[in-house]
């Protein structure tokens, strides 16, 4: 098959070389747009492009067909240079119906390529999208290179010899669209053909039909006169090595498994399904042969409590959720902090408050994970900055948690959870081990469950060890012995000790470094998933000659020890956040720096353009 495909993939039409392309695929949530996007991403990654993706889908599994609410989109930027965002403006939009067209057209650049499935622009389709007239007939269409493709008819034609039902045949049209897009950008069809063969191995007719639809889409691109040239994007010059495509949630799962192995620990993962964190549960459930325990608990509270129980037993306890679930876990997180047991709590943030925007991204849980518990209850907080970075974040969190005997919170978000980028595959054998020791009972007479080491960590004595029987609980404890204590001096001492223990994390983390000049007009401070957009925007501003540097914070509690010093080297500090100014509030309170916020809560990531504009404006007044 591969030789056939290779010869088929030769295009006789002219080819244009471009340095990068942003494509958005938009259709009904049942149209398979996420599948199409994933295939385009994987194929582009295999061709050596740098990639960044942004899936954007409704919370409803199947919102009413053809409506604007039901539009599901997938955006990917692939380039021959490094990219850190899925792209601001779209070079090519593939719209499968009128609703997809009108809800996405604003992001298509002037002169951009607009491919529509014209079979889905009948009166009834327009009505579903709340349109009186066809947008294809409007004068605004002259701004774009409109290509009308009768995808339904062409797909039916391509698969007719297989005798499928109309419904079955119709479902193949996303592969037709895929074939066309693959032709347009000279992507190999081989990986997708492999995928089809694998995925539909139990239904040979459907398998065959999808293959035919894919090839027909390619052939259509090659023969239609409406598409003149196709485009090519050369491989990017990434750091040499072996790469794979990585999504944020997958990277968290793999990072947790790696941390468990590096520390010689059994991984126990207690979780309750919630968007956008559930994929971590799915991913870890696949790896029972790695000794991974996954427990789908009856609720969020049971999920975190089961992880606490596992941690008491000596396992690596982990729980994950999103904002609403983290709210439910709050009391138990306080318990884990009080028990001084190591564990990891992951918050894959989504739009809030309450149920909010389940499938959209936001960074508004920072203050929740820092302060959303009763009493003085500080916890270390680390935020991942990109899909692949989630892997390292998980490992670092366990390094800190196990060293200091306390829960550590990881913040991710919907944008990096579902986004993808190339990941330079590490060699596990070369990674630094995580040393964990349990007292063995040989010095039982001197054992005290809350005796502390130089970092204020207590010993992790586990059940089954003779002579070390001890009780832990949520009631305040006397230091050293761990016995219940209501003594006022002891309580103050313990509150300060737990606070200092978190502060000690600063000894384990690198100092803050900036990208750009070490002093100047403006420092842009970012955290979490806005890294790519902020970094790209600062680079562009630097190229414009502005005196601006970028500082990305990975550690939100404690902050790197030199942060206060760094902040004061710039006349102005700008903190863009996908919330109403949560990091800004912390920075202002802690360092008395008059930081300026740029805040957006639309359920969408920052565009580079808007950040560059903000940076320019602030620099003007610096």
């Amino acid at each position: 098959m591969s030789t056939d495909v290779a010869s088929l993939e030769q295009s006789s039409k002219p080819v244009q070389y471009v340095s990068g392309v942003t494509v958005r695929l938009a259709g009904d949530s049942g149209d398979g747009m996420q599948l199409l996007g994933t295939q385009l991403t994987n194929t582009s990654a295999l061709l050596g492009n740098d990639i960044a993706t942004f899936p954007d889908f409704p919370a409803e599994i199947r919102a009413p067909r053809g409506t604007r609410a039901g539009v599901s989109g997938f955006q990917v930027q692939f380039a021959s240079h490094e990219v850190f965002t899925p792209g601001d403006v779209v070079d090519a939009l593939i719209a499968m119906n009128p609703a997809a067209l009108v809800t996405n057209l604003a992001d298509l650049r002037k002169g951009g390529l607009l491919i529509v499935n014209e079979d889905n622009f009948e009166d009834k389709d327009l009505k579903l999208a709340n349109l009186k007239t066809s947008p294809l007939e409007e004068p605004a269409m002259e701004n774009y290179r409109l290509v009308r493709v009768p995808m339904n008819k062409l797909t039916m034609e391509a698969v007719k010899e297989l005798g499928l039902s109309v419904k079955e045949a119709d479902r193949c049209k996303n592969f037709f669209a895929m074939g066309m897009v693959f032709w347009l950008y000279g992507r190999s069809m081989e990986p997708t053909l492999r995928f089809i063969r694998d995925k539909f191995s139990k239904t040979p007719d459907i398998q065959k039909a999808n293959e035919k639809a894919l090839l027909a889409g390619w052939a259509f691109g090659e023969t239609t006169e409406t598409l003149g040239a196709s485009y090519r994007v050369e491989p990017a010059s990434l750091t040499p090595g072996l790469y794979r495509n990585m999504m944020g949630n997958q990277a968290l799962a793999w990072g947790l498994m790696t941390a468990a192995q590096l520390s010689g620990k059994q991984l126990f993962y207690g979780s309750y399904p919630i968007t956008p964190a559930s994929d971590i549960l799915h991913e870890l459930s696949r790896f029972k042969n790695f000794g991974v325990y996954t427990f789908q608990a009856e609720d969020e509270i049971a999920a975190v409590c089961s992880a606490i129980g596992a941690a008491y037993g000596g396992s690596m306890g982990v729980t994950t959720s999103s904002g609403p679930g983290i709210a439910l876990k709050a009391e138990a997180m306080g318990l884990a902090l009080m028990l001084e047991l190591p564990m990891i709590i992951i918050d894959v943030q989504r739009g809030g408050p309450s149920t909010g925007l389940p499938t959209k991204t936001e960074q508004a849980d920072l203050l929740q994970v820092l302060f959303g518990r009763n009493g003085e209850s500080p916890l270390p907080v680390i935020a991942a900055r990109s899909p692949a970075d989630c892997f390292d974040t998980a490992i670092e969190a366990w390094r800190i948690a196990s060293r200091l005997m306390m829960p550590v919170v990881i913040l991710s978000d919907g944008y990096i959870a579902n986004g993808a980028e190339p990941w330079l595959i590490p060699d596990v054998n070369q990674m630094e081990k995580i040393q964990i020791q349990h007292p063995d009972g040989s010095d039982a007479a001197n054992f005290k469950p809350y005796r502390r080491d130089d970092m204020l960590a207590r010993p992790w004595a586990i059940p089954g060890t003779p002579g070390l029987m001890h009780r832990v609980g949520g009631i305040e404890k006397e230091d050293v012995t761990g016995n219940i204590s209501y003594d006022p001096e002891n309580h103050q001492h313990m509150v300060r000790t737990r606070e200092q223990k978190v502060a000690n994390v600063a000894k384990m983390i690198p100092p803050a470094t900036v990208l750009g000049p070490e002093s100047g007009d403006l420092l842009v401070v970012s955290w979490g998933g806005t890294y790519g957009a902020c970094m790209t925007a600062v680079k562009q501003a630097q190229e414009m000659g502005l005196s601006v540097a970028h500082l990305h914070l990975r550690h939100l509690n404690p902050f790197p020890s030199n942060l206060g010093h760094v902040l004061k080297q710039y006349r102005k500090v700008l903190i863009p956040e996908l919330n109403m100014g949560q990091l800004r509030m912390l920075i202002r309170a802690k360092y008395l720096v008059d930081a300026i916020g740029y805040n957006k809560v639309k359920g969408k990531p920052f565009s580079v353009v808007e950040l560059v504009e903000q940076i320019s404006n602030v620099c003007k007044t610096a």
Partner: protein, 338 residues
């Protein structure tokens, strides 16, 4: 776990060095004493045992045991214990809870623990009152009970813990009474020997906020007429003179007096492995219409959650080989950048 060559343990070996801080006269003392009496008989060293509790008077229990222990948060002990037991199947795990802890704030975890059949024991100290918060009514308080929060009488219909446990198809369900120490010790031992979740409700007296709530069942003077001791394979007989029994008529049960043509052979015979309906009938026997059964209502074998989880891991390792991260990272589509 091996029991060979172990020193013989005594009740005192299971006592911690902490002062017990329950009110003098509390029924909890009796349960603590019987637990300490039973544990040495199990042949399991104290370091292999973990007591997990929630919040409430009963939940202070772990502090008084010289074993491992977690005093967790309100209602959540079953979840903590589940995470512990599945990852450490070698440990003997006990959950200590109360009527508010298990049936109100922790009701969800309670039923899920039972339906999963995690191999651990859960002892519910039922005193029909909130003691630690000083006397509000609980989910097992009878209708009409006047408490600090129900000055005109409770209007909620009380939960029957046994019905709830049976509804979750618990594999071991038993009941005992704090003052009936021999029965209590025997019941705790039966629970400890059961493989799967063993649930024991203990009628426990709160002498400060709900004194005498169980007198009818606990007092020697009235006990025999108000309580029926279940024995597997034996007919249900009770009364001071052992002259009364329980007869099944159609789908209903009734109290009958022996004699006058009614003999033991007419009575319902207890069967711990009987159909769930049998256990439900027993659980529905409430005062004053019926004597209340104590002992083991149901004891059946069923695969445990922890065994099955560990078996899946073993099977996955056998089938696919132990996981190799480097191999996983390099599986599927990868590409080389030179």
């Amino acid at each position: 776990m091996s029991t060979v060559n172990l020193p013989v343990l005594k009740a005192a070996d299971f006592a911690s060095d902490q002062d017990v801080r329950w009110c003098p006269g509390c029924g909890d003392y009796s349960i603590l004493a019987q637990m300490k009496k039973v544990l040495p008989e199990l042949g399991i060293p104290p370091e292999q045992m973990v007591f997990v509790s929630g919040i409430g008077c009963s939940s202070r229990f772990p502090y008084y045991m010289n074993t491992y222990g977690v005093h967790s948060i309100h209602g959540r002990a079953p979840a903590v214990a589940t995470g512990l037991k599945v990852t450490r199947p070698d440990l003997k795990v006990w959950v200590i809870t109360g009527d508010g802890d298990a049936l109100s704030i922790g009701g969800n975890h309670f039923v899920h623990l039972l339906r999963r059949n995690v191999n651990l024991n859960i002892i519910l100290f039922n005193n029909r009152i909130y003691g630690l918060t000083k006397g509000q009514y609980s989910p097992t308080s009878p209708e009409g009970q006047v408490t600090k929060s129900t000055p005109m009488g409770a209007i909620d219909h009380p939960l029957n813990p046994m019905l709830l446990a049976l509804g979750a198809e618990a594999t071991f369900v038993a009941r005992s009474i704090d003052a009936h120490v021999k029965h209590l010790a025997a019941t705790l031992k039966r629970a400890a020997e059961h493989k799967g979740t063993a649930f024991v409700e203990v009628y426990q007296n709160c002498n400060v906020f709900n004194d005498g709530a169980w007198n009818y069942a606990a007092d020697r003077a009235t006990r025999d007429d108000n309580v029926i001791e279940l024995e597997h394979g034996k007919p249900l007989i009770f009364g001071k003179e052992r002259d009364k029994g329980i007869r099944l008529v159609g789908t209903k049960i009734e109290v009958v007096k022996l004699g006058n043509g009614i003999s033991e052979s007419d009575l319902l015979v207890h069967d711990e492995q009987g159909d769930l309906i049998h256990s439900f009938l027993l659980a529905r026997m409430r005062r004053a219409e019926f004597p209340e059964p104590i002992g083991v209502f149901r004891d059946i074998q069923s695969p445990t959650f922890d065994d099955q989880m560990n078996d899946q891991i073993k099977l996955a390792k056998q089938k696919r080989g132990p996981g190799d991260l480097n191999q996983l990272f390099r599986s599927g589509d990868t590409w080389q950048v030179a």
